[in-house]
Symmetry: C2
């Protein structure tokens, strides 16, 4: 399987600082790391991401994938992260697709996200078809939620991060779990990991601790993932887009509770 030349430059996830509690007692308190990482592609500066830095190479690849700046992992020659200068240098085989056009459009759009090219993504969504021959059993959903608890190490220590997981629909096994200070970074890192490992989304569950806003639903659909699960709630546009694209969206999923909002046919009680 093809893999770009890459560093493996994860940073320490938490740092401990002193804090005074309500009784006046000094409490050593772990806080989540947050570092600027400036992405250069073929020596051109693209943008700066604020990240925990746990999976920077996958994050950068996934960012370029989800922004539709590259269309396959084979286009990526190398990804080199250097924390001495907070930079990630990407070399591509043939350059980025429509970079100038996309950079110009990006300035016009923002969510709580990252200035994604919203109009373009919505256009793409109309052509997405998600698999309908996969079914998630309720007991498998509960098993996956239990598996997530075991993975959340940074959140438990320091809070202030969002977690995302990619799990199998057939047995709820978690294939990868990423935490980051930004909700969208965690999604992008999963997208990068999927490319690096040659994993497709069409028989998977995408789990996030964050809210299901429009951009989260769009990103899951772009990765062809038919089931989206969140510990949190959802917004109206997240709901509308989930209905439109036919993704099975489950919110408020904690322990043995959940609310199933759309495309109920994929869940077996």
């Amino acid at each position: 399987m093809y893999r770009p030349t890459m560093t493996s430059a994860a940073r320490p996830a938490t740092f401990t600082v002193g804090a005074i509690d309500e009784h006046g007692v000094m409490q050593p308190t772990p806080i989540a790391g947050e570092h600027p990482l400036t992405i250069y592609v073929d020596k051109r500066e693209i943008l700066t991401i604020m990240t925990l830095g746990a999976a920077p190479e996958a994050l950068v690849i996934g960012y370029l994938r989800n922004q539709r700046l590259i269309s396959s992992i084979e286009e990526v020659v190398s990804v080199q992260v250097d924390w001495e200068v907070n930079a990630c240098s990407v070399v591509t085989r043939n350059g980025l697709q429509n970079l100038d056009e996309k950079m110009a459009k990006r300035t016009k759009t923002t969510g709580c996200g990252e200035g994604t090219v919203f109009g373009d993504l919505m256009a793409e969504i109309d052509s997405v078809h998600l698999r309908d021959d996969v079914a998630l059993k309720q007991e498998t959903l509960f098993a996956m939620l239990n598996n997530v608890r075991i993975h959340e190490s940074i959140y438990k220590q320091a809070g202030a991060v969002h977690g995302c997981a990619l799990a199998r629909i057939k047995d709820g096994a978690i294939l990868t779990f990423v935490e980051d200070v930004g909700r969208h970074n965690a999604v992008d890192a999963i997208a990068g990991w999927m490319w690096l490992e040659g994993v497709s989304g069409d028989d998977k569950i995408f789990y996030t601790t964050g809210r299901l806003t429009s951009e989260m639903v769009i990103k899951a659909a772009q990765m062809r993932i038919p089931v989206l699960v969140s510990r949190s709630g959802l917004t109206q546009m997240g709901y509308s887009i989930a209905e439109q694209v036919g993704i099975t969206m489950i919110g408020r999923a904690v322990n043995k509770h959940y609310l199933l909002f759309t495309s109920a046919q994929r869940l077996r009680a």
Copy 2:
């Protein structure tokens, strides 16, 4: 006091949809509204914000303020929101400051935020001096946290929103409270409200339900607010910038608990 000509076009905050719970029972479930709002300034398209729409005029004014595109409320002639076309039209007296330069820079930066002009803001932070002759009593902090609970209506109903409040240091009274689907929108709406009402930040507390990341600390400092309180945790860059700028930063503030991280001299136990 000067006020621009404005609409007052708040949207309904929640919508009710059907969801199936773990027992197979249909539960009518309120979800938070989320609407695109495209900002036009002097007929030029600037960007599209995804918002709950509770305070769109203040949000747009605060966005232009926090991005340093306008330097006083007197520069704003009118703000007209029209939800039929999801647009907000702003007319200024003399145009925006350095718009092209700022739009070009914005493409390069992102946080969980909104592509703020991070470098510019950090440069400005170096010149910020926050008042040191104000003191927050512990009992006033607790009173403010209790006041916040009363205001959180959308969060209680639907979740999936962040809330921000501006409160007085002297007695913990909440002057304004805004909820939005985006953490940064809620902050921007407060900044807009402060300008519209002629309220200064230098003897106030800024409260947020969201995490204290770098961009949140920068925005509070830009508004000259000396005390920043969050229900959630903080990140390493939020901590570093808070130390650098000398803001009193309190995290994990719920009921009668908190952790005081920086500039402890302003809190009286």
